[in-house]
């Protein structure tokens, strides 16, 4: 009964989404306030309906209702509770339902929090949002119905892919989807603005918080996925330039560009046409990502068994929205009035440069990702484009961007004095030189690029802090003045400093792991020891054990440094029931200088096991840096100036009568 209700409300949601697409749009064209007002109710109701449907599917998982095909195929009664919950989105149908749930949640949030939007703009934004929801609800109902029943019902489910039974991966999809789908709001605003023919500072102020929120979720979602790959897959790596990874990285690059260009629209009323294009592209790349992941047209290590027919449906959605919005753009973009003029050397100029590098980097990643498809359709040959391509091309594009990054915030709007900006960065410059020399001396045998990479990281961190010190008159005025200025800093400014600083922290981790990673593969028998990366690792023993839904062989590895016991690491081979699928758990010990990473491999004929050891210097900083970026985004989001509805602050704290 609950299941049928879920199915039924999902159909209602589709009907409502179609209504929400057409009626408010017509109302806005006719300037009919009553028709336009329906958008708000429709958006909120639609979110409630999809929530009910999602709840119904989750109920099926929680009570292990194997009459539902989706639950049977992806769950098992012996699974721990958290994976019964995350099992809802650990499969094609359920993950699409989650996609739509988050989409309608954003739609409802726009409806609730944008009371001060002009009514026509609001109606059009929600109508576009409704059209996206219609497409995906249709996709779910026609090709991927999660509520399909089984008759006769099996007694037990087939279980969930064990590799996904992991806490980080339980929350990775919701966060990543919140990022992907959050970009739909920027997209809807862009399309609505094209229809209205008007983009101004207020428009940018409305769009920014939504883009920022989406960007934050994307940042932390991608980072969590990378962390998971690092500790779960046991390859010692954190990023593989795999098509599925690139699919999430491209929208991130464009969303980052969009965040920066929206500042120019807001402050200087310039770059409007470009900003609209970025908003369209960011969401288009999200759709492309969904298509690549769900259709399996590209070989990926992160891909799951999939169904090409569904891919065609998503491709049609992709073509419709990307083609439609870009045609509208080509037709209407020229009607937007051009804004403020600026010299090449100015804050605007630096943001344009930022945008060029980010956009071209996204283009390079896109080329490398899709090239195998293009090549195959022209020549029939099968190829792969791997990490060497992406490392080289992306590196060439990103290094100049990182070098220029700390300079930008010191440039003034309209026309800047470049020399003055550089002068203010002299302390950061000194720190960079000191870093390069120190690293070069300490790691003389390492790759030559490593000291430079570390120099860039310090440049980002010290440069960001210099900007904050400049604003707060740090050390150049009495402490109380500094303190008052620090407290008075707008959230957006602190957020920017943190985001840029976080980037620097991530770069430290990336450079260190790339340049100085140590790796060793060998056969170890119980009680054998090996000296590795300044530690002594002893393979103590193997113990057989039992988990809630798996059996395990656990290898214990004792780690000592200079004869002193540090920790015991456990690496496990698990065999999951009922599928019999094996997985490996990695043993990791974080030293201050990096991670010691132990993987127990297969048994060897003559006794013992293959063992893989890694030392990954400063690896945790990769993800810690992105956490700092996330926090920076959060602080910026809380900046009152961007809070939706900020321009008019209620003066009187009186309650208004309900209508």
């Amino acid at each position: 009964m609950i299941t049928e209700t879920g199915h039924f409300v999902l159909i209602l949601a589709l009907v409502l989404a179609i209504f929400q697409t057409i009626v408010p749009m017509y109302g806005a064209a006719k300037n009919d306030a009553r028709l336009m007002a329906t958008a708000q109710t429709a958006a909120i109701t639609q979110f409630l309906l999809v929530s009910i449907a999602f709840g119904a599917l989750m109920h099926g998982y929680l009570v292990s209702d194997f009459t539902i095909k989706n639950v049977y195929a992806n769950s098992h009664s012996a699974k721990p509770l958290i994976y019964k919950i995350s099992g809802v989105w650990a499969n094609h149908e359920g993950s699409l339902l989650l996609w739509v749930l988050i989409l309608t949640m954003f739609g409802a949030a726009v409806a609730v929090f944008s009371g001060n939007l002009p009514p026509t703009l609001k109606a059009r934004v929600l109508a576009v949002q409704g059209s996206v929801a219609s497409a995906f609800l249709g996709f779910i109902l026609f090709t991927s119905n999660p509520f399909e029943r089984l008759n006769p019902a099996p007694i037990e489910g087939t279980g969930m892919n064990p590799m996904l039974q992991d806490p980080a991966l339980a929350i990775h999809p919701p966060l990543l989807y919140a990022g992907y789908v959050g970009l739909s709001v920027a997209f809807s605003f862009a399309v609505a603005a094209l229809i209205e023919g008007k983009v101004d500072a207020a428009w940018a102020r409305w769009v920014r918080p939504w883009t920022l929120a989406a960007w934050m979720f994307l940042t932390v979602g991608i980072s969590l996925g990378s962390w998971w790959a690092y500790y779960e897959l046991g390859w010692g790596g954190w990023w593989f330039w795999d098509p599925v990874e690139n699919a999430s990285f491209m929208p991130w690059l464009v969303a980052t560009a969009l965040l920066h260009s929206a500042i120019v629209v807001e402050k200087r009323n310039a770059l409007k046409v470009w900003t609209i294009l970025l908003a369209i592209l960011a969401f288009s790349l999200s759709l492309l990502g969904t298509f690549l992941v769900r259709s399996g047209v590209l070989t990926s290590v992160h891909a799951f068994a999939n169904d090409p027919e569904r891919g065609v449906f998503i491709l049609a959605i992709l073509v419709f929205f990307v083609g439609g919005s870009l045609s509208l753009y080509a037709w209407r973009a020229t009607s937007l009035k051009a804004g403020g003029i600026f010299a090449p050397l100015s804050r605007e100029g630096s943001l344009v440069l930022n945008n060029l590098f980010l956009a071209v980097a996204a283009f390079a990643v896109l080329t490398g990702t899709l090239f195998p498809l293009v090549y195959e359709s022209f020549t029939g040959g099968k190829i792969s484009v791997g990490a060497p391509f992406f490392n080289m091309v992306f590196g060439i594009l990103i290094v100049p961007l990182l070098l220029l990054l700390p300079v930008g915030p010191f440039l003034s709007w309209k026309r800047a004095n470049g020399l003055a900006a550089i002068k203010r960065l002299w302390i950061a410059g000194l720190a960079v030189v000191a870093t390069i020399v120190t690293v070069f001396v300490l790691k003389a045998d390492g790759p030559w690029a490593a000291p430079i990479g570390m120099g860039i990281a310090v440049w980002l961190i010290a440069g960001s802090l210099s900007e904050m010190a400049e604003r707060t008159k740090f050390l150049r005025s009495p402490f109380m003045t500094f303190w008052a200025r620090l407290k008075g800093l707008p959230g957006a400014s602190i957020g920017m400093t943190l985001a840029h600083l976080g980037m620097g922290v991530t770069v430290i981790g990336i450079v260190a792991i790339t340049a100085w990673k140590q790796e060793r593969i060998l056969v170890m028998k119980p009680s054998e020891s090996i000296n590795f990366a300044g530690t002594q690792v002893t393979f103590v023993s193997e113990i057989a054990g039992q988990g809630p839904n798996y059996s395990a062989e656990t290898g214990r590895f004792d780690v000592t440094v200079d004869g002193k016991f540090v920790t015991s690491l456990y690496s496990e081979k698990r065999i999951f029931q009922p599928s019999g699928t094996p997985t490996t758990e990695v043993g990791i010990h974080p030293f201050w200088s990096g991670d010691l990473y132990v993987v127990m491999g297969d048994a060897v004929k003559t006794g013992g096991r293959t063992v893989r050891l890694y030392f990954n210097p400063f690896a945790p900083l990769i993800w810690f840096g992105s956490l700092i970026m996330f926090i920076g985004g959060m602080i910026s989001l809380l900046d009152r100036r961007y809070r939706v509805g900020a321009p008019k602050k209620a003066k009187k704290p009186t309650l208004q009568a309900a209508e």
Partner: protein, 151 residues
């Protein structure tokens, strides 16, 4: 020297084109140098691939062919049910590597015609078959799409 709108646009467009141009150049040369071809065992036997060429070899792991020696090197045979190639790989195999399963490996042929792989691509899902492998098996008529999808 006042900035006019036209001048501003020209500078922006030229700057954009310059970056895009450099990037395109790098992309094209890098693509030429770094792409890795995918071959099936049949294609390996038909082409004479030089030992310097890095490529991907894909197919099924032949049943009963996996030899785990005493050291860290594993030997197995990759087949497309027509031809086979011997593979030697040093390292720990991914969890979902198994006999009769699809596999994609990357490396070079040695003088004796053995494919020395430095990478065995893992997968997350036991029902997932790399697209290249699925295609080549389909071509040979050995692959049924919905084979493992029971009720």
């Amino acid at each position: 020297m006042a900035m006019t709108r036209k001048k501003q646009r020209t500078i922006m467009i030229l700057g954009g084109l310059a970056i895009l141009g450099v990037a395109s150049g790098v992309i094209l040369t890098q693509l030429k140098d770094t792409i890795v071809f995918f071959y099936t065992p049949t294609e390996v036997s038909e082409k004479s691939i030089s030992p310097q060429t890095r490529f991907r070899l894909g197919g099924l792991v032949e049943k009963g062919s996996v030899e785990r020696g005493n050291g860290v090197t594993v030997k197995f045979i990759v087949t497309d049910n027509a031809k086979t190639v011997k593979v030697s790989y040093t390292g720990t195999l991914p969890d979902l590597f198994g006999e009769g399963q699809g596999v994609v490996t990357e490396g070079k042929l040695n003088a004796g015609g053995v494919f020395v792989a430095d990478t065995v691509l893992a997968k997350h899902d036991e029902n997932y078959m790399p697209k290249e492998v699925a295609d080549s098996l389909k071509k040979q008529g050995y692959w049924k799409h919905d084979e493992d999808k029971k009720p």
